[in-house]
Subunit: 661 residues, 2 copies
C-alpha cells in the first residue's frame, strides 16, 4: 500500500460522497420526531409544513377596553347632538380588551370616547358599570374589533417545511393550535480521536505529547450545525482497536468522524479501516489545508434506523492538524447535516477585499486562506494569517476565509479576492487595523480596546512594512521604531521618505530596552554584540525591515562588526516572542530583543540600548471615531499601569505627540 | 389612579432603567463561573482574558514523516553527489509527524526526499528503519520542523474578555493548557404570564379564551440571548397573587418579566404591583407597538447574589399583545443581558430599502414597522406587513424591522428607509416578491418553492395594485384576474394600460370558480347576485382594485343592480379567506369569492362564474434564475395535483403562455 495519497478535486470528492449517500437512501431528511412546543424547540427544523388548526383570534375580540354597540345605532352622533345607550337594555355592554364581542354587537367604542353616566345622567366614576353611556361621534362597523382570523385563519399555511425555528415562529405555531411540532431528528455524530501520542486536554505535558482538542472543536462545530456530537476517548494507534471503536460507533450514530494523527502513515491506517469495514470512496482531496481527507461508508450492523433499507453510514477520515480538521468539517459535514435536517446549508456572507500581502498557492489545490479583515477608508482589506495547518490561532483570529481555486497559483498584493466572512460588517467596521512592528503592549492594547468596543487586529511585518502599508492606505496605524543614525531620533525621516504625501500624527507609545536575550544563567557567556561573532554562539535575527534589525545593523556597523561573522544572522523571526522562543527552546543561544520578551519566557537579559516605539497614524484616522478609544487609553492610568508591569518599558513618554502635520 | 399611561420617549426610558441598575451596582457583568472546556462552552462569554499557560507546540516537533538531521551536514548534497547518513551512528533518526526532534537535530528531511538503503547500499522497502539514508539536496536549518511556540507562546493573550466562544476558540484555549474556563454566569430570567382569560397552549378553546404563548416566545428570545428563562404558570388577575408570584420569582432570578393582559386596566395592575414591591421607574414608553411598558426595580429579599450590596432587581411589565411583547424584549432586555454577560449587544445588519406602500405613523411614537424585503433588479424593497400588535404572523413573515422615529408622521411609497434585517442578504436574494391578487394556490406555491431553495413573499393588494407595482419595478411577478368586459378576456388590456412599456410574459396559473360564499345550509337563502339587494342580507366585499370586485361590478352592471342597494358593499376584505372568515364568523351573510375559500372554512358555495387567474411576469425576471424553479413547478405533476385537490380549481390551463412580448 503506497503511502502517497491520491488527491482528487474537491467537487469530485463531494459528488462521490453524495452519490454514495443517495445509493444508500441517505440523501434526504433523516427522520422526524415530535417535540414539545417550548423554548428548546428554538433552532430545530420543521419536518413538515404547518397548517393552522384554529384561527387566531378564534372569536371576534374587542381590541380596546370600551363598550360594545351596534354600529348603525351610533349614526348621527355629534358633539352637539350626542346619543346615549342604556346598559340595562343591553344596547351596550362593557368589554375589556380581548373579551368576546356579544353576538348582537358589531363595534366597540373605546372607553376614552365615552361619557359614563349614572341613573341621573351625571358623570359617574363607575366608568365600567354606568347606567348610561353617552357618545358624541359615530363609529363604523367593526371598529376597535379584532375579528376572528385577523392573524391566522384555520387551514392556512403558518410555516413551511425546512424552517429553522425562531422565537416568533414558536408563538405562531402555538397560536395556530399546536402544543408539539414535528421536527427533523437531530443526527448523531460520533467523533473518534486516534493516536498514541495524544493526551486529553488539561494533561501535564511531556515532550512528544500532543493535546487532543480536535474532538472538542469538531464537537462544537457539529453542535452549532444542529446535530448531537459524541466524543469518544482517545484510541491508540492499533488497527484492531480502531476498527472495533468504529464499528461500535457506527451502530449508534449516523456519521462517524475518524480523526487520525497527522502523519501520512496515520491516514493510511484510517483508509485501511474504512476499506475493511465498508467502502473507501476518496483517499485524499486537493484542498489545503486538509488534503489527507478520507471519505467512505461503513456498515451499521444493528443500526438505529430500523426503517432503512441500506445499512451503511458515512465515515469521514479527518486529518490530524487542527486547522485541517476544522475546515474538513466545514467543507464536508455541513452539507450532509443540512440535508439530514431538511434545511438549507449555511452560507457565509461574502465581500470582495484587497489583499495586503502576496499569497503563494499550490497550483493543484483549492487553498483556503485565513485572513484578517479590516476597513480602511472605503477599502475592505484582507491580511493573510498563518498558513500552517497546525496553527489553531489562525482560525481564532480569522475574520474570514478566502478560497484560492486550484487553477490559480497565487495572488499579488493589491489584488481583489472574495472573502467568506466569519464576522459581520459591523464588527469589521469596529476593527482597528495595525500593521507594522511587533510589540508586547499591542496584546495589552487589544485587551483594553475590547472593553471599549473596538477590535484590534495587528499584523507583524516590521516597522518598514508598516509605513509602506500606511502609504498604500492598508492600515489605520503602524507601530514603528526605526532609528535614524544621522539624528539619533526615530521614525520621522523614514516617514517622510516612505509616505511623503500623507499627513500624519506620530504618538510615542513606550520607551523600550533592547538587549540580548540569553538562556537563564547565560551558559555561553554572551555579554555584548561583539560576542556574537564567537564561533560557539548561535544567533537568531529579526526579519529585514524590522526596527530591531535596523538597530542591530546600525550598532554592528558602528562597532565595525560584519554580519557574515555572525552564525545565525540569516535565521529570521518575525516577533520579539519568536526570538525569545528560539532562545528558550535551544534553537539559538541569543537574539536581540526587548526585555519584556525575555521576561515572558523567563530568559536572562543583557540591556544594551534604549529606544522609542511610536504609533504612526495618518491624520484622517487620528481624528476619526474609530481610534478615539485608543487615544483615551493612552491617557488613562489603567493602561499605563498594566504596561509598566512589563519589564523594560518606560511609560513616561506614553501619549507624547512626536509629530503632528 | 388614572388609567391613562404616561408615555416617555424610548431613549429616556432606557436611560432611567440603566441609571437604576447603575445605582443598584447591577450595570456590570453579573458573575463568573468556571465551566468545563467541552462543546457546551460554545456560545458562552469569556469573563476574563485568557493568557496561554503553555506553548503550542510545546516542543520542537517534526512537521513531516522523515529523518531528523543536522542541517549543516547536508550542505553540498546534489543529485550528482549525494550524501549518506548512517542510522547506527545517530547522524540521522526516523521521526513521524509530531514526534519531538532529537536534541542534536535541527531539521527534518521528508521521507519522500530520502532513499532508504540496506547495509549493502541497495534500496530497501524498510523505509523507516533502513541502514542508510541517501539525500540529493541540502536542507536549511529548521526545515520541516514545527518549532516550539509556532502557534501559541506561553504568556501570550489567546482570547480577550467578553468574547463569545466559537468552536476554534475552544481549541485554542485547550492548546494553551486549560481544561476549564471562566465564563460569565448566565442570567436567570423569570417570565410571569398573568391574566384570567389566558389558557395554556394546546387547550381546547372556548370563546374568550386567549392562548398564552407570549411566555413561550419570550423564553425562546431570552435563551437565544444567552440567558436562562423560567416560565411560570399563568397567574390569574388577582393583585395579591401577582404580588406573591413576583416576590417569589425575584428571590431566585436576576430579572422578572411580568406579562400583563392587553388592557390598560391590566397594565395598571402591573404598575401597582411594582410600586408596592419596589420602585416604579417608567409607566408607558412612546414606542409602537409596545407602549404600555413598565420599567421598575423590585426587592430581592433572599437573593441569589450574596455578594451584592443592593437587593433590588429589575422588573419589566411587558405588554400583552404578542408583537408588543416580543419587541419589548428586543428593545429592553437584550441590552441588559448583554451587559450582564459582558458582551456587546447584538446588532442587526441594516440596509436602506425603498418603501412599496405609504406608511402612516403616529407623530409622538417611535414606530417599529415589520417589513418583507425583496430585491427586484438593483432595488431593495420593503413592503410593510400588518401593523396589528396582536398579529404574531407579522413577525414570522418579517424580513426586517424599520424604525419610523417619533418626529416623523409617516413615509410615502417610494421613500427610502433603514431596515434592520432579520434575514441575510443571501436569503433576501432568494426571495421571489409577488404582489397582486390573492389566491390560495400562492400558499402552496410558497410551500413547494421552499423545497426548491426559494422564499416566496406575497403581498395582497389586489390585481390592479399588482400591475402598478410591476410598473414601479417593485415586484418580480403579479397575480391578476382582471376581466376585460369588452373582450371577455383577462388581464391583457389592463397590462397594456397600466404598464405599457414593460415587456411581459403572462402565464395562466389556474381556472377558478367564483361564486357566493354562504354559511352552511344557506340560512338566508341567497341564490344569485340579485339576492344581495335583499334587506336582510349582509354582504362583504373585496377591496377596490381587486379582480373579484371588478368581476362583481361588471356583473352587477350587466344585471342593472346598483351597489347602493347592497348592504355591506362598503365593507372590504383584502383576501378570499378574509371574505370566508367574515361569513363563517357571522360578520356577513355572504360574499363573492373562490370555491377553495369556502371549502377552507366549511361554507356552502353557489357557483356563478368561471375566470382565469394569471401570473404577469416582466420578461427580465421571467428569463432569470430566480424564477426558474417556479416555471419548473408549473410543469410538474406534483404541484398540479396539490392544486387540483382544492375545490373549484381547473389546472388544465396551468403553465399556458397567454402572452409573450
Amino acid at each position: 500500500m503506497s503511502i502517497y495519497l491520491h488527491d482528487i478535486p474537491l467537487s469530485q470528492a463531494q459528488a462521490r460522497l453524495r452519490e454514495a449517500l443517495q445509493d444508500a437512501e441517505l440523501w434526504r431528511m433523516l427522520g422526524v420526531e415530535s417535540i414539545p412546543l417550548n423554548e428548546n424547540a428554538l433552532g430545530r427544523v420543521t419536518a413538515e409544513p404547518i397548517w393552522a388548526l384554529v384561527s387566531s383570534p378564534h372569536y371576534h375580540a374587542s381590541a380596546m377596553d370600551g363598550f360594545a354597540v351596534i354600529a348603525d345605532k351610533t349614526n348621527g352622533a355629534q358633539p352637539s347632538s350626542p346619543i346615549s345607550f342604556l346598559l340595562k337594555e343591553s344596547s351596550t355592554q362593557y368589554v375589556d380588551t380581548g373579551d368576546p364581542l356579544p353576538d348582537w354587537a358589531n363595534a366597540v367604542i373605546p372607553i376614552e370616547n365615552v361619557e359614563s353616566l349614572d341613573e341621573n345622567g351625571d358623570i359617574t366614576s363607575d366608568i365600567r358599570q354606568p347606567s348610561f353611556i353617552r357618545i358624541r361621534a359615530a363609529v363604523a362597523p367593526w371598529s376597535h374589533v379584532r375579528p376572528l382570523g385577523e392573524d391566522i385563519v384555520a387551514t392556512q399555511l403558518v410555516l413551511p417545511k425546512g424552517r429553522i425555528l425562531r422565537p416568533a415562529d414558536l408563538g405562531a405555531i402555538a397560536a395556530a393550535g399546536y402544543q408539539e411540532i414535528k421536527a427533523a431528528r437531530k443526527p448523531k455524530v460520533a467523533i473518534l480521536p486516534t493516536g498514541s501520542e495524544l493526551v486529553p486536554i488539561g494533561s501535564k505535558l511531556k515532550s512528544g505529547d500532543i493535546l487532543e482538542y480536535n474532538s472538542l472543536v469538531m464537537a462544537a462545530q457539529v453542535k452549532a450545525m444542529g446535530a448531537e456530537p459524541t466524543r469518544y476517548p482517545i484510541t491508540k494507534d492499533d488497527f484492531d482497536s480502531i476498527c472495533q471503536r468504529v464499528q461500535e460507533a457506527a451502530q449508534t450514530h449516523d456519521l462517524v468522524l475518524l480523526n487520525a494523527g497527522s502523519s501520512a502513515g496515520a491516514e493510511d491506517f484510517s483508509a485501511r479501516v474504512v476499506e475493511k469495514l465498508g467502502q473507501l470512496l476518496v483517499h485524499g482531496v486537493a484542498v489545503r489545508p486538509g488534503h489527507p481527507v478520507i471519505l467512505g461508508m461503513v456498515k451499521n450492523e444493528l443500526g438505529i434506523r430500523s426503517d432503512e433499507t441500506g445499512n451503511l453510514i458515512p465515515i469521514i477520515g479527518v486529518p490530524g492538524y487542527p486547522v485541517s480538521a476544522a475546515l474538513t468539517v466545514d467543507i464536508f459535514v455541513e452539507s450532509i447535516l443540512a440535508k439530514w435536517l431538511g434545511r438549507r446549508p449555511n452560507e457565509l456572507p461574502t465581500e470582495m477585499a484587497t489583499l495586503t500581502r502576496k499569497i503563494v498557492s499550490p497550483a493543484g489545490d483549492d487553498d483556503y486562506v485565513r485572513v484578517a479583515v479590516g476597513k480602511v477608508g472605503d477599502k475592505l482589506l484582507a491580511a493573510p494569517l498563518s498558513r500552517g495547518a497546525g496553527v489553531i490561532t489562525s482560525l481564532v483570529q480569522a475574520d474570514g476565509l478566502a478560497l484560492i481555486p486550484s487553477g490559480v497559483q497565487g495572488l499579488d498584493a493589491g489584488e481583489q479576492l472574495k472573502v467568506h466572512l466569519y464576522r459581520s460588517k459591523a464588527e469589521i467596521e469596529r476593527t482597528i487595523f495595525c500593521i507594522g512592528s511587533h510589540d508586547l503592549t499591542l496584546d495589552l492594547l487589544a485587551q483594553f480596546l475590547a472593553e471599549h468596543d473596538r477590535r484590534f487586529a495587528s499584523a507583524n511585518v516590521g516597522s518598514q512594512g508598516g509605513l509602506i502599508a500606511l502609504r498604500r492606505a492598508e492600515a489605520h496605524l503602524a507601530g514603528s521604531h526605526l532609528l535614524d543614525p544621522a539624528t539619533g531620533g526615530y521614525n520621522i525621516s523614514y516617514i517622510r521618505q516612505y509616505m511623503p504625501n500623507i499627513p500624519v500624527k506620530v504618538v510615542a507609545l513606550v520607551g523600550r530596552e533592547q538587549g540580548l536575550l540569553v538562556k537563564k544563567g547565560n551558559p555561553k557567556g554572551v555579554k555584548n554584540l561583539g560576542d556574537l561573532s564567537k564561533p560557539h554562539v548561535q544567533f537568531v535575527n529579526r526579519q529585514r525591515g524590522a526596527g530591531t534589525r535596523v538597530l542591530l545593523d546600525y550598532h554592528l556597523s558602528t562597532l565595525g562588526l560584519s554580519a557574515d561573522s555572525i552564525i545565525g544572522y540569516t535565521q529570521e523571526e518575525y516577533t520579539h516572542l519568536g526570538v525569545a522562543t528560539a532562545v528558550a527552546s535551544g534553537r539559538a543561544d541569543c537574539g536581540l530583543g526587548i526585555a519584556a520578551a525575555a521576561q515572558a519566557l523567563d530568559l536572562d537579559f543583557i540591556p544594551l540600548f534604549q529606544e522609542r516605539y511610536d504609533l504612526v497614524i495618518p491624520k484622517e484616522y487620528a481624528e476619526g471615531d474609530l481610534l478615539a478609544p485608543l487615544f483615551g487609553l493612552l491617557a488613562e492610568s489603567e493602561f499605563r499601569d498594566a504596561v509598566s508591569h512589563l519589564k523594560g518599558y518606560d511609560v513616561s513618554v506614553m501619549g507624547t505627540i512626536i509629530l503632528e502635520d
